[in-house]
Structures are given as structure tokens and as C-alpha cells.
Symmetry: C2
């Protein structure tokens, strides 16, 4: 491993998991960390998320050869500005943000004389904060790296090596394509989940306690991702606005078509649509991207 | 237990699970079963889903004191007609359908001289067919009974007792309210999941293999319920059309509001919405309606 001192800015789910994963897989590497919230720094130190929790971002990066920003997309630029004077000239700058074009721009503007190679590990849970991280979060998950043109090939290969050491499979694509792919596989699903959970909470005719009670009919699935960190998701939608709005437009068209089929009683159109969506689930399971057990392998939680 | 001979019409996920649950919890009760598909009857016999698989629906109900229709909503009326002449006069007629007004009407029209008390166990998985059922499906799940007015109180109490014996908690409401509650907790979520999975399959700019590969970003959650039985769901939407269209209209309004917030960059509106949907998840977990572990307790399936 070429990086010897990794600084992690932001010690929530992602930052904390990177720290723990480095400790597990790359014990020779030293990690420093910083979070703008004192309570998070305190908890990070208690859990040992990094070798040393620092009181300022500048202190955390002073000797780093790799700094990874693990803050919400909208906070990347400001976080990068805070370390501009302290970061060694040869250090690589990366991140874990869910949108890449806007973040790449923000990091490059704040750190114009450093090499920036953005990354996005497609991994997470609905939990957030310094207690949410765990060392195996990246095992067999994809990490998408979006190298700039031209790119520093040595630093790029070191970053690939770093993520592979943490258990991830690395894929590369340009930032624009990343933003389109993630708009459909991640951003739109979150937006829809947030919407329907809000819709269900606001009904007058159906009480909230009924919604909760009968949520096993399907609704509860959506509540998981709608419990994700609101700050991060606000920033994701704002920083990937164009691609999200484009996908949302297509979703709305498709929903309108199904709505019409229901209204006019076109059972064949409904059946044809519902039959073809099964194949995707099968492929996801075959490629090891989800738990094959029915109901995600949920335990019979009702009995507890 | 007052029912001694239970006939199950339709031997898929629900019918099969009832048969297995009766064998486990009410071994003194005899079960007969019928399915219109010969292959399903054969498999049901092999798995022992009921004590006796019959070659006609009439044979299955000839000595029954309770018959439960476990066929798609749109097939209830025809299935009930098939047994009208064979069903003993005092036998109770029930079902497990996901919509109640249309099914109640269909069953009453086909069996005008029998007592019909509809029921809906809010339980299931994304799997269907004779291999999908299991004896504990109803454990600590809600079963909603929608008694007609006036109702036969003795038969009603026996039906309650039956579902409680299978491990369910019973709740009663009128059919109209049931259809509204389930439209939001089950039907709308399925419609949305089917829609987004379809939208993602049809993109030109993002390949299907990319959608599958990066589905852990949120999309894969939707693919589970979009893998549910297409025939059943076609019928659910057609048989609960009014309530589904009403809920869909509200969902669309809420989605349009969030879409506008993204377009104009109103981060506060997004944050406020996303922050309040977290509370619902918490309540669902507190009430034992979902697995409290992160990510539904999915195993690190990627390592297999």
C-alpha cells in the first residue's frame, strides 16, 4: 500500500467505516480524522474510528498523503477550503460523495494545486453518524472512481489499490455518466421513498397508526431508505439536479401510463408490465447484489 | 377450534401457508385443497400443503365447514361459482384477498345463500406458487377481517379464533376503510416499485447491467416487491381502482412539490421533508413490524 497516512474528513457512516476498514485491512496505515461536530469527534475517539481524532481539519491533514472527504455533497467545498493551506503538496484528494460532477468542481476549486480523483463507494445503510460505521461495509460492494482527464496514473492506481484493499470492487467511468447511473439506481429511489412515506403520513382518512400497523404489506420497505440522513440527501438532489429531474420525468411518464391502465381497466397492460420487472430482481440476486432469501431474509421480528 | 374441515381453494403462497399452518397449529383439523393448475396440485401434494389435494374444487369443499379462497382477486367470483352446488349450507366462506369491497361483492353474488366473512392477512413475501408457502407466515402479522352488516357473530368469532390459532393478530374494520388503508400501505408501494423498476429497465443511456451492478444504492429494495405475482397484482389494482387512483393522485402532488424544490434549489423544503419521514421508520420498528437491524438485516450476500 502506497498511502501511509490517510486523513478522513467527516466521521459519519462512511468516514467511520473507512477508518475501521483501514484498521482491519491495512493496519500499517495511520489514520487521522476530523468532524465539525464536537460530539461526533468525541464518539469517534471512543469507538476508535481513526488512530487520532484531531480538533481541526488542518491538523488532521498536515501529514497526510491521502485525504478523503466524507461530508455531505454541499459541504465538500467548504471542508476542502479549510485544509488548503495545511495539506502537503503531493497528497491525493478524494471523496465518497454520491454525485460526482458538482463535487469534483467544488474540490478542484478549493484545492487548485492538488490532484483530485473522486470516488463513490456504492455502499451504505439507512443509519448515519459516528455509531453507524463498520469495517466490512465495503466488502464486495462496487466503488466507482471518476478520474479526471488527464489523470495522474500513479495516484489513480494507488487509489484503486486502496479501495480494493478495503474489500471493494473498483469500476471507472466519467463523472457525467456516474451521475446519470446513480440518479436511477440510488437518487430516484430515495426521492420516491421519501415522497411516499410523506404522503402516507399526511392522510386524513387513514391514521398514522394504521399506516404503521399494516406496513408489512409493502410500505415498510420504503421507510428504510426514507430514514437516511436528510442533510446528505438534500445535498445529493441539489448537486445532481439535472440527472435527477431527467429520471423523475421518465418515472412520471411511466407512472402516468400505469395510472391510465388502471383507470381504463387495461389488465393486459398491467400484467405485461408486472411480468417483465421480475427478471431484474433475478439478475440482481444472480450477481450477488442482494440477499436471495425471501423478504431480504428479514427475521421473524414480529415474535420479539 | 370449531372448524373441523377446512377447504383451501388456490394453493399458492397464501393457500399453501394456511395449509401448513393448520397442520402445525391445529393438527386435529382436516384440510382439503384445490388449484386450477395441475402442476400446482401435484406440487402441493408432494409438499403436503393440505391433507388431501382434490381434482375439482367441488370435491375439495364437499364436506367443508370453512372454505378459504386464496386465488387472485379477479378469479374469486368464478372460483366461488364452481363450488356453489357442492358447499354444505352451513359452511362459512372466507378469503385472503388484498382488496375487500370487490371481492366481498363477487363472493356474495356467487354464493348468495352462504355466510361470507372476508379476511385479509397482511403477510407475504415476493415469492409465489406452491413452493413459496411456509407455516409461520402469519406469526405476529395482522389479519384484517371485514365482517358484513349484519354479521353472524358465532361464525365471526370462529373465524377470529382460526386466524389467532395460526399466529395472527386480528383486527376488524369495514371493507371500504380496509381498501383505503391497504391502498396506501400496500397497493401504492407495489405500483411505485413496479413503475421504477420498469423505468430503470427502459433507459437508453444507462445499461441494464449498470442498473443491476449499482443497485445497492437503493434501487434493489424496490425490485423485491416488483418481483411479486403479476396476476395477483393486476387484479389488486383493478379491484381497488378508486382507492389506488386516489392515493396515486396524492403521491403525484407530493412528488411534484419535491420536484419543484429540487428545480428551484429549495434545500430547506427538501431537508424538512426528509427529516420528518424518519419518525415513521422508528415507529414501525418499535411496533415490531420490521427488522430493527440496518439494511433489514441483509447478510453480507456479496461474499457468497
Amino acid at each position: 500500500m502506497s498511502f501511509q497516512r490517510v486523513a478522513i474528513i467527516g466521521l459519519g457512516l462512511l468516514g467511520g467505516s473507512i477508518g475501521l476498514a483501514v484498521a482491519q485491512h491495512l493496519p500499517e496505515v495511520t489514520t487521522t480524522g476530523y468532524d465539525r461536530y464536537p460530539a461526533t469527534r468525541k464518539r469517534a475517539a471512543e469507538r476508535g474510528l481513526v488512530n487520532r481524532v484531531c480538533e481541526t481539519a488542518a491538523d488532521a491533514v498536515r501529514e497526510a498523503d491521502l485525504v478523503i472527504f466524507c461530508v455531505p455533497p454541499g459541504a465538500m467545498g467548504e471542508a476542502a477550503s479549510e485544509i488548503a493551506d495545511a495539506l502537503p503538496p503531493g497528497a491525493l484528494v478524494s471523496d465518497v460523495g454520491s454525485s460526482k460532477r458538482a463535487i469534483t468542481k467544488a474540490l478542484n476549486e478549493a484545492l487548485p494545486s492538488h490532484t483530485v480523483i473522486p470516488a463513490h463507494p456504492v455502499a451504505g445503510t439507512e443509519n448515519s453518524g459516528p455509531d453507524a460505521g463498520f469495517a466490512t461495509l465495503f466488502h464486495n460492494r462496487w466503488c466507482i472512481i471518476t478520474p479526471p482527464e488527464p489523470t495522474n496514473l500513479l495516484l489513480l492506481s494507488q487509489l484503486v489499490e486502496f479501495w480494493e484493499a478495503l474489500g471493494a470492487n473498483v469500476e471507472m467511468m466519467d463523472a457525467e455518466h456516474h451521475d446519470l447511473v446513480l440518479a436511477v439506481t440510488s437518487h430516484l429511489p430515495h426521492l420516491i421513498a421519501y415522497t411516499i412515506v410523506g404522503t402516507a403520513s399526511d392522510l386524513e382518512e387513514v391514521t398514522r397508526s394504521e399506516v404503521i400497523k399494516y406496513s408489512a404489506g409493502g410500505f415498510r420497505d420504503f421507510t428504510r431508505i426514507a430514514a437516511s440522513d436528510p442533510t446528505m440527501w438534500r445535498d445529493v438532489f441539489l448537486s445532481n439536479k439535472d440527472a435527477v429531474l431527467e429520471m423523475l420525468q421518465r418515472f412520471t411518464e411511466d407512472m402516468t401510463a400505469l395510472q391510465r391502465a388502471i383507470r381504463v381497466g387495461d389488465g393486459q397492460a398491467l400484467f405485461d408490465h408486472f411480468a417483465r420487472t421480475r427478471a431484474i430482481r433475478r439478475s440482481i440476486i444472480e450477481e450477488g447484489q442482494d440477499d436471495a432469501r425471501p423478504d431480504f431474509g428479514r427475521e421473524d421480528h414480529g415474535t420479539t
